[in-house]
């Protein structure tokens, strides 16, 4: 590929990033703004899908995959189920949330200020690129026999962390199971028996 074509690709990528980030910000604000929780859950699903597209543009396809499957898929379904159990309209609150607003704006300002100290976007000499990443990129396939570096890092070099993550997911599932089905059983024992599992 000649130099001009590469330059053109970079410009296209830049515009894609800007457009996606604008939409991400818009959906984020819309999710907070909307009073209808059903619409809010849908907008959050779109938000996750846009984030997945952004990860693809940034060449992080594994993260994009997870974001699309978990963020846009399963999380949306779980939120819809939670809304079906509770109610689809947010309660209107009288009090003006000045303190929370000031706290979040202050934190956002500090975070944006902190980005000024970060290395330039995509900098090859950033500390994150110089620590163990070169070793994984050079030796990963030879040592693990797995061409996908992400998999070799997750499953082999960071295998202990991943075992911890799986344990966390397992614990979360058991917690939900005990909390939700335990509560149903208790209510059934105290109240008169109602119709079984009409869901």
């Amino acid at each position: 590929m000649d130099k001009r074509a590469q330059e053109g690709l970079r410009v296209i990528e830049l515009y894609l990033n800007i457009i996606l980030l604008v939409f991400v910000a818009a959906t984020g604000i819309a999710a907070v703004w909307l009073r209808n929780l059903l619409a809010s859950a849908m907008v959050l699903g779109i938000y996750s899908l846009l984030m997945a597209a952004l990860w693809v543009v940034l060449d992080a396809v594994d993260v994009a995959f997870t974001e699309a499957a978990v963020g846009a898929g399963v999380t949306t379904v779980l939120m819809l189920l939670a809304i079906a159990l509770t109610g689809r309209h947010e309660k209107r609150r009288r009090a003006r949330p000045w303190l929370p607003l000031a706290t979040s704006l202050g934190t956002a300002g500090l975070l944006i200020y902190a980005t000024l100290g970060m290395p330039i976007f995509g900098d090859a000499n950033a500390p994150a690129q110089l620590h163990v990443a070169p070793y994984y990129l050079l030796q990963g396939e030879a040592e693990t026999g797995v061409p996908n570096i992400v998999t070799s890092v997750l499953a082999a070099y960071r295998g202990f962390d991943t075992l911890g993550e799986v344990t966390v997911i397992f614990t979360a599932g058991m917690g939900v199971l005990v909390l939700l089905t335990g509560a149903t059983r208790r209510r059934r024992n105290t109240a008169a028996p109602t119709e079984e599992d009409s869901a």
């Binding site: 499957a69 399963v74 779980l78 189920l81 030879a142 070799s152 799986v166 869901a199």
Partner: protein
């Protein structure tokens, strides 16, 4: 939900391909993007799609809670078991290289097995969470 003909037909057409794609992602996580975590979520999504479009109770009969809980435990134990097996083969905990004479080969085997453990655990837990929520309606 069962009144929507288009949804029913499309879901019925898609579910086998979703499952197949889930298994593909599971087994090809070492060559392409993906792995046990994504595959587990995709396989769980196929069951959840069926439960939403057709009938929660049929889906629950296909994947009974007792089986799901056993599968979730099996997935985590498979992962940890690989670590223990490495100890027995003379390596350290989760040092898959101990599985074969060539460490790279042993690593590949270990990664495939623990990815299957992750996939089983994640798929089971996602369905456990979904069915626990859906039960209460």
């Amino acid at each position: 939900m069962s009144d929507f003909l288009v949804l029913r037909v499309i879901a019925k057409l898609l579910i086998p391909f979703i499952l197949l794609f889930g298994f593909y992602v599971q087994m090809h996580g070492d060559y392409g993007p993906g792995g046990g975590f994504q595959a587990g979520v995709i396989i769980a999504a196929a069951f959840i799609l069926y439960a939403i479009v057709f009938d929660v109770n049929t889906a629950r009969r296909m994947a009974p809670m007792a089986v799901l809980v056993s599968l979730a435990c099996l997935g985590v134990l498979l992962y940890a078991g690989v670590g223990v097996a490495n100890l027995l083969y003379g390596g350290r905990f989760l040092e898959y290289g101990a599985f074969a004479h060539d460490p790279a080969h042993g690593n590949h085997i270990g990664i495939l097995i623990i990815e299957i453990g992750v996939g089983i655990a994640v798929a089971a837990v996602m369905m456990i969470i979904f069915f626990s929520f859906a039960r209460r309606r």
